[in-house]
Amino acid sequence: MALSKEHIQFIDKFLQRNDVVYVDIRAEMTDHIATAVEERMKHEEVNFYDAFRVYVTSNKKELFRMNKGIWWFSLQELKIYFRVLIRPTSLIINVCLILFFILLRNHDFYLSFKENLPFYFLVAFLLVSVLNVIYFWIIRRERYFFIERNSIVLMILYWINLLLLRPFNASSSLSNVLIIGFFCLCVTYIFYTIDQMKSFLKLRNI
């Protein structure tokens, strides 16, 4: 017997009350609990609330392990970003960019770009962060683990910008390598974000 909309909402509310804040994690847990409860109702001929109570009592510890330690998956994001970085299209585009900057290294355009890149990045960083907060926290009032775990890549780029790009003498050859390398990482971040958005749109119905 399939559970009603009210039963599903009951499970969802229970998970919310138990600090499962992310919509995508909660949806998967809801389906798991609902299927287990349906099985119990079918085989033991009990009502929803009894089946739910028995299931949660005997599985609570394991169930909430699903919601713990998920920070670890943020580290997995770095692997995904790295896979995008070594993808043939990204490599070709980044090599073209490096050659482009080498050819223009004495041109005014490059000198001004080099000077302003950390600032442009900071503006983009703030824009992405604020838009994320406005859209997910204020408009939708929903948090998605899929979206929040991506922020680790942006944070690493932010710290590279803050710690590596600024201290060096702007005229040194090391600063050229760092600036061009950082720009390539930012371009890769755009490809990575497009990939992630495509996957998110596939999952947004959750």
Partner: protein, 111 residues
């Protein structure tokens, strides 16, 4: 999970093998299938299954499909092309492991 230390290292391979056979499966279905095949001997818990599925997904070995089923959303997992190749490798590795264990634990049977 029963005898967790022994089974833990093989959990990903078990999941991939099931997905190779069935095409696509959702979390609860995987736990029940494993229970059924092992006649209730092996019980994969939620706390072990979902982190393993999410890790395989992040590694690009699994892809997901979401469908609305009975008033809720259900996430189905299936192998990617890379996942299918990796399953063959991991199964071969597991078979080799079982063979070696057999040689160590019960040498007479291995001949």
């Amino acid at each position: 999970m029963k005898n967790s230390q022994l089974y833990k290292g093989s959990l990903n391979t078990i999941i991939m093998k099931l997905l190779e056979e069935k095409g696509r499966m959702y979390g609860y279905e995987i736990t029940q299938k494993v229970k059924e095949i092992t006649l209730g001997e092996l019980n994969i818990t939620e706390g072990a299954l979902y982190p393993a599925l999410h890790k395989l997904e992040a590694e690009g070995l699994l892809d997901v499909e979401v469908e609305k089923v009975d008033n809720r959303m259900r996430k189905y997992y299936k192998l990617t092309e890379k996942g299918t190749t990796e399953t063959v490798n991991r199964l071969a590795e597991l078979e080799e492991f079982i063979k070696n264990m057999q040689n160590i634990v019960n040498p007479k049977l291995s001949y």
